[in-house]
């Protein structure tokens, strides 16, 4: 699928990227004004990765996500109002206010959950892949994780299981150059994280994570491979987060210039230029995508705000499935 040539695909990609951007900006704003609780990990600047990746997925496919998971959740098809309700600690939130940002998920669209544990979703993805395989389903599983996750034992074990059993899993590393403050070049002694794939005998590629097309193509190929029973792949999508790691971040570990240089490579701006340049979409259509995204996020906030707060009275009975025990 050529996102810059196919008008429908281009609009879809653009709308998703703008929706993520606007959603994250709204969260940033609500949080800054003390209307949101906890901590938030925003994915502004990284929108092309979930967007390009999820465009290569089909219904029934699964994803596992991370602490920086709003974009994954949106790109996989979740409803904005239920996401916003979750962050606003409402009863109508996806997790009924129990999970919040770090556990947000629309299970119905195949999102097995954001995860507060770095690399926590990686072996879970392998297991979902095993289930798909054993149930002879045609689905693929896509596991998102950051560069920082790659040095966790869970990552190593999860990727190896998927590799030796030829499981239909696509491992997508969002390499945004830092695991919190730890620079990739200090945490690794390899140039490209995709090189790690060889250790498990699976293909590994590095793509421009600010280009939804590049991400899409790599994921589409890996998904095809997965569905064909030829096992997992590792895709390293190189990108950058504009905002601090979370609210406590003073950005001491990186320079203003570095941040600025990446802002100049804004995935949305670049993509808009590409689709405009190729004549696929006109400025008015871009404008409509932007407006739709803005309105959708505004609506979501409105709907979420009107919902009842999550109720504390059922807490204890919510721990176990199948009724209280």
């Amino acid at each position: 699928m050529d996102l810059t040539k196919d008008a429908e695909a281009a609009q879809s990609a653009l709308r998703t990227m703008w929706t993520i951007r606007r959603f994250e900006e709204a969260v940033d704003d609500l949080f800054g004004r003390g209307l949101m609780h906890g901590t938030m990990h925003l994915s502004i600047g990284q929108e092309a990765v979930p967007t390009g990746a999820c465009l290569a997925l089909a219904d029934g496919d699964y994803i596992t996500s991370t602490h920086r998971g709003h974009g994954h959740c949106i790109a996989k098809g979740a409803k904005l109002d239920r996401m916003m309700a979750e962050l606003l600690a409402k009863e109508t939130g996806y997790c009924r206010g129990r999970g919040g940002s770090m556990h947000i998920a629309d299970v119905a669209t195949g999102n097995l959950g954001a995860n507060g544990i770095v690399a926590g979703g990686v072996p879970i993805a392998a297991g979902a892949g095993l289930a798909v395989r054993m149930r002879r389903q045609p689905h693929a599983v896509l596991s998102f994780f950051g560069d920082g996750a790659v040095n966790e034992g869970a990552w190593h074990e999860g990727v190896n299981l998927a590799a030796i059993w030829d499981l239909p899993v696509v491992f997508v590393c969002e390499n945004n150059h830092y695991g919190m403050s730890m620079a990739v070049n200090k945490a690794f002694r390899v140039e490209r994280l995709a090189e790690r794939a060889k250790a498990y005998g699976i293909p590994g590629v590095t793509v421009d994570g600010n280009d939804p097309q590049a991400v899409h193509d790599a994921v589409a190929e890996a998904v095809e491979r997965a569905r064909a029973g030829r096992g997992p792949s590792l895709i390293e999508a190189v990108t950058y987060r504009w905002k601090g790691h979370s609210k406590s971040d003073k950005n001491l570990y990186r320079s203003r210039e570095e941040i600025d240089s990446w802002r100049e490579r804004d995935p949305i701006t670049l993509f808009e230029a590409a689709v405009l340049g190729s004549g696929t979409l006109a400025e008015a259509e871009l404008e409509r995508c932007r407006d739709e995204a803005r309105d959708a996020v505004r609506d979501a906030i409105r709907t979420a705000n009107a919902a009842p707060d999550a109720a504390a009275d059922e807490l204890a009975s919510a721990v176990y499935a199948g009724g209280p025990s």
Binding site: G99, H103, A105, N115, A128, L130, A131, G158, A318
Partner: protein, 334 residues
């Protein structure tokens, strides 16, 4: 599963587990086993035995040595509609997998607001007595019983080894089944077909009047042996086996203590922060409080890692004479 009359046969604890695994796999294709050396090797303790020949290498699946990955894969498989049963070769290695057990499996149902379930079983043998030393002999039930979202069972008899496991497999939650190495070769009566033992119900293994002993795992049979000796000495003991540690059948324990006025709590695990502390605490804040004729006593493993030398290993955990002595003291002195 076509017979209608439930025949009772003599099996070993390991065979009873294997029978439960086989019956669950026959009844439900979503059920499958995986873990280190569960296939052709038949399990480090021979529990899975010939199952790989009966169900194939897909459903009785050998894994690399990677406990965290294995448990994580079970979580993922459960989320995606399977009913995985994981064997961790020694319960000590749950330490490797603790994130997936406690932070993922136990919490996902709650964290996702009920939108997902993690129906999985984690089987692992605990306990000392085989000379396997400190990293292969622990009794870690207290860790799991402290994690909301997990259910925890400790089958102490052959029938329970089958019955509790079947109930655990049925349960829509993650259940940790802590087996005991010393029990694997023990024999006992087991119903052939059903024999499910509901989670959350204690068993009163013996009824008496002078004191109540609460014991778990291999300590159940030791407490029963001690009770026999005590009886010869004129002391009449109730023995309660909680079977499920979480959710705990506190009612049965409290009732038994009300009836006898004395409690001796026996565990293999080190005393400090062990599961019997919870039992003591609940007795001490229950209707039984008013009936207590003696302090609530614990007889536990020493607060030491399990040593290798047989004479040291024996000294580290309660033996039958220790139970007899402690029970006698409790009854005679109070």
């Amino acid at each position: 599963m076509t017979s209608t009359v439930d025949t009772v046969r003599e099996l070993t604890y390991a065979e009873a587990i294997r029978e439960a695994l086989a019956q669950a796999m026959e009844a439900d294709e979503r059920v499958f086993l995986f873990g280190e050396d569960v296939g052709i090797y038949g399990g480090a303790f021979g529990v899975t035995g010939d199952l790989v020949h009966r169900f194939g290498t897909e459903r009785v699946r050998d894994t690399p040595i990677s406990e965290l990955g294995i448990v994580g894969a079970a979580v993922g498989a459960a989320l995606a509609g399977m009913r995985p049963i994981v064997e961790i070769q020694f319960s000590d290695f749950t330490a490797q997998a603790m994130d997936q057990i406690a932070n993922q499996a136990a919490k996902i149902h709650f964290m996702l607001g009920g939108a997902a379930e993690v129906p999985m079983v984690l089987r692992a043998p605990g306990g000392s007595g085989t000379g396997a030393a400190a990293q292969h002999s622990q009794s870690l039930e207290a860790w799991f019983a402290h994690v909301p979202g997990l259910k925890v069972v400790m089958p102490a008899t052959v029938a329970d080894a089958k019955g509790l496991l079947l109930a655990a497999i049925d349960d829509p939650n993650p259940v940790v089944v802590l087996e005991h190495k010393l029990l694997y070769k023990q024999s006992g009566q087991v119903p052939a077909d059903s024999g499910r033992v509901p989670l959350g119900e204690a068993a009163i293994r013996r009824e008496g009047t002078d004191l109540t002993m609460v014991a778990t795992g291999v300590m159940v049979s030791r407490a029963l042996e001690a009770a026999d000796q005590l009886a010869a000495d004129g002391i009449s003991a109730t023995v309660v086996d909680p079977r499920t540690l979480k959710p705990l059948d506190s009612g049965s324990i409290v009732d038994a203590v009300v009836a006898t006025g004395r409690a001796l709590l026996v565990q293999e695990a080190p005393r400090s922060g062990g599961f019997m502390a919870e039992v003591a605490a609940l007795i001490g804040d229950s209707p039984a409080f008013g009936y207590l004729r003696a302090p609530i006593r614990r007889l536990c493993g020493l607060d030491v890692p399990i040593p290798y030398a047989p004479q040291l290993e024996r000294a580290a955990v309660p033996q039958v004479p220790d139970i007899v002595a402690e029970a006698t003291r409790l009854v005679r002195e109070w």
